[in-house]
Point group: C2
Chain length 202, copies 2
């Protein structure tokens, strides 16, 4: 006994999503079969359809967009002197929703990961270097994540950019708001110590 | 700054799935945007399309199917004297994949849940009673889950069916294989004691 073909097909489609195993894919698919109205199913299909036809990567910053250039690159009110380099579009969104940064972005489209066949050519590093030549950038903030690949990617970009007139900075890592020292992992703790700020002059 | 409309639409479609919050829906959607080839997106759309056009509930047992009656109801080699009553199609699939049961099924399509507006009319209870009248059933195995709603639904079905010639049974609950007594929850433990089998005559 197996599920009908279309249900099996949807289960295997869901399994391609990150962190979705056989049981979860089955639950999602049966939920759609049993509980979704026609409108909700149409919404799924139409959204994927629209993504296929309208979404592309901004040729300037690499962000996902349906207009060219993207809204951020179009926005002349933003600080045109800073570029924050992030891994993925969702990182850009996270920074944007914090409303703490008003400069430009550059979305790498991933991190260096030689084992997965991701080298500098697979990321938008070439277009970043082009931007830095032609635009009025003064500072590049490396905001890749604090893990082996993110650190390696930041280090690689640093070697490419040092020697230029640009200020290169790395976003600060340390204990998060509400974080407890006793639960902090070793890497966070070492970064928190490394980046400590002096409160008194010595 | 927001995602393009189509991406937002896909995020909100994913949020309708059980256990999928804002962050997960965003991760799923961006994974599709960034990493899915045309074929994988088509698979998603086509599967939902096929579900809309070909899937229905078997008018006999309530299982999801694309043929009428479903494969199980069609299969004359199955034991036609037993019906196992389950909540959802996925429960039927779980029992089938264990290959421990060869009778018929009846899929309720949920459990009684007055607070959510689910009464007997929202489940396939009427068609179950019809089947029990007209078919050659001798035993009904109540296999709803071991939780408040599953137990209530089983109790409700028992009141409907007792007084008939049918044997009504409840699937056994107790400690699972590989389960440790020390980690068992109270309900499982109480069911395990209640359902204990005698090893010596007394």
């Amino acid at each position: 006994m197996k599920y009908p073909k279309s249900v099996d097909q949807l289960i295997s489609a869901f399994r391609q999503l990150p962190g979705v195993g056989a049981k979860t894919a089955e639950r999602f698919s049966l939920h759609i079969v049993n509980h979704f109205e026609k409108e909700a199913m149409d919404q799924f299909k139409d959204a994927i359809d629209a993504i296929q036809t309208t979404i592309f990567h901004c040729p300037i910053c690499g962000n996902i967009t349906d207009i060219n250039p993207c809204l951020i690159c179009q926005d002349t009110k933003r600080d045109q002197h800073m570029i924050m380099v992030v891994e993925e579009a969702k990182d850009l969104m996270a920074v944007e929703s914090s409303q703490t940064y008003h400069g430009l972005y550059h979305v790498l489209g991933g991190v260096l990961s030689p084992a997965d066949g991701v080298g500098p050519e697979q990321l938008t590093i070439k277009s970043l270097l082009e931007r830095l030549k032609s635009e009025t950038i003064k500072e590049v903030i490396l905001a890749t994540n604090l893990n082996a690949k993110g650190e390696m990617t930041a280090a690689y970009l640093l070697t490419l950019l040092q020697g230029t007139d640009l200020t290169i900075s790395r976003i600060a890592h340390g204990l998060p708001a509400g974080g407890h020292l006793e639960f902090a992992d070793d890497l966070t703790l070492s970064k928190a110590l490394e980046g400590r700020t002096k409160l008194t002059k010595s």
